[in-house]
């Protein structure tokens, strides 16, 4: 890999809730134009870390710089250059997708055509639909469209593929890869290791508020193999998901 420029740098981040320490001294960098994965079990502090970087939550201590802006003093500047997809967030009730995008355009002060945004995530047929009427995959695609309105330098996706069927999941991977290829840095959390392996350029494992490993998926796997690890079962050339996709077809249904 060529030398990388850090677009997010987190140094010694600590977050305490009363007597519970959710994040204990995290430090990592996200490079420009990569897909960076934060992995770890529930309650490990992934979402808390993301929300602090997104300026949605106060930190207890530590330093965070996002594209040269400090979260302490320049939260407003950071909001301008990031796009955020929250885990399980809803949208303004009773509005259709075009109206929701118009609302977000106003909130970001961006001049965008809602239909063009919907085309980017392949939802132009659903322009007049309400968010609630969308399928799981469509909801996630729409959420991603709202993160792109201000042409952000970085987007944050918190478990975007949770609860999706294999087709919708792969479809979303393609979209996320396209976004990265178009020049945007992507920070993503997920519980699916196959997803992280396929999608992420680098991953950090978070456990009890600390980073316990950070590297490319390839290197991390090699390190484990070199340490003498062996799978109990011989790896076949395909897995059950390949069978599923092969049987039910690649194209994504709504």
């Amino acid at each position: 890999m060529e030398t990388k420029k850090a677009i997010i740098s987190v140094t010694n981040l600590i977050k305490k809730y009363d007597d519970f320490v959710a994040v204990q001294g995290l430090s990592f960098e996200v490079y420009e134009n990569e897909i960076f994965g934060l992995l770890g079990p529930n309650g490990a502090g992934k979402t808390t870390t993301l929300e602090i970087i997104e300026t949605l939550r106060e930190k207890t201590s530590g330093e965070i710089i996002v594209d040269g802006f400090s979260v302490d003093k320049q939260a407003q500047d950071i909001k301008q250059i990031i796009g955020v997809q929250l885990q399980a967030a809803g949208y303004y009730p009773n509005l259709n997708l075009v109206e929701l995008l118009e609302l977000f355009a106003g909130l970001y002060g961006a001049d965008v055509k809602p239909m063009e945004m919907l085309e980017k995530v392949n939802l132009q047929d659903k322009a007049k639909a309400k968010y609630k009427a969308l399928s799981g995959g469509q909801k996630q695609r729409f959420s991603i469209a709202t993160t792109l309105i201000n042409q952000p330098k970085i987007i944050f996706l918190d478990e975007p593929t949770t609860g999706l069927d294999p087709q919708a999941r792969r479809n979303l991977w393609d979209l996320i890869t396209e976004i990265r290829d178009a020049g945007t840095t992507v920070v993503i959390t997920t519980h699916y290791m196959d997803e992280a392996e396929q999608l992420c350029d680098r991953v950090a494992f978070v456990e009890r508020g600390q980073i316990i490993a950070l590297d490319t998926p390839d290197n991390l796997i090699d390190q484990l193999v070199n340490s003498g690890f062996e799978r109990k079962k011989e790896v076949k050339k395909a897995n059950l998901e390949d069978v599923f996709i092969n049987l039910t077809g690649k194209e994504w249904r709504e």
């Binding site: 890999m1 134009n33 997104e54 300026t55 949605l56 407003q76 500047d77 909001k79 301008q80 250059i81 990031i82 955020v84 929250l86 399980a88 967030a89 809803g90 949208y91 303004y92 009730p93 009773n94 509005l95 109206e99 929701l100 118009e102 609302l103 977000f104 355009a105 106003g106 909130l107 970001y108 002060g109 961006a110 001049d111 063009e116 980017k120 709202t146 792109l148 201000n150 042409q151 952000p152 330098k153 396209e178 976004i179 290829d181 178009a182 020049g183 945007t184 396929q198 350029d201």
Partner: protein, 383 residues
Amino acid sequence: MNDRNSSSPLGSEGLNDRNSKSSLGAVGYSNTKATLALAKASFRSIMRSPSAVVFTLAFPLIFILVFGFLGGGGTHIDVGITPGSDMKNPVIGMLEKTGMIRLVKNKSKADYDKLLEKGNVDAMIDVHRKVNSVAYSVNVVYTSASMDKGNILKSVLNNLFYDKNLKPSVAEIKESTIHGREYKTIDFILPGQLGFSLLSTGVFGTAFVFLSLRQTLVIKRFFATPVKRSSIVIGEGIARIGFALLGALFIILIGHFFFSFTLVHGALTVVNMLLLAALGVIVFMGFGFIISGIAKNESMVPPISNIVTLPQFLLSGTFFSIEAFPTWLQPISRALPLTYLNDAMRKVAFEGLGLWDVKFQIMILLLWGIGIYAVAVKVFKWE
């Protein structure tokens, strides 16, 4: 995976067109634009929300319809004539002509006393020619059993005494300030229903919207954009006030054209009423902010809201004049903000007063507003 040179399927107008980045700089960001975008979204949402439309329009209109037909378009006042009263005087004649007053004649003093006590007769009138004079003396006895109708009779009598033909022949004039137009049921009911509509749209609407926006993380998502908190509140406020005023205008126009609701100065009166409506809904929205802060979930909103709205619905002169209530209850009525909004609305619509003339009522509403928002700032929750 790492081939960054692969052509983007999204084309040259890709996901990250940096050329227009400058328009997104902190300097170029417009809070006004964000506020208006929120107001527009909120207004669209309200217009599609069945409960908002029912509470603001259907509810008050049903009451207006019911009372509009019940009252037969007018109030009747039963006035007994004291035995021995001079019947051939112009006052009685004029009273008969107004059509609103039904004279109850030829009963004994004892009968009249009973009727008066029960409120079956609203007042007694006794007209006598003054000794050594061409003028008449008019003696009216009201009953506390029917104070509201007594008040109407007062204004009717005063109106009569200003009549040119009658004036020279009547020596004693009891009151001199009350306007004596034909006071119809609708003139009383409509401002009360309007006030209640503003109360429910302000309280229920605001409480539900902010609670649900908070619970579904819509507000959290907004916070990830550069929008200010004040823009969210103001945008929501603009939409709600706009919707409430549209509803108010609709109710006033239906009342005026279908039930002959009195608008003394026409369009000017409507404008004054709408200004009062705006003040009222702003004050009432404060209750909504408080409720959205203390309610833990959506099912807690209706009971808490009813604690605020029901007493005002019953005690603030929405259906009955508060003077008809027992005296121990009246101080409670006089403490409620809706009482003053209703009062100001009636004075503006029926008596044709200007906003400056109802400054006392406006002042009480403003005091309520200051108190409510002081609490709202403390208990309101963003997340």
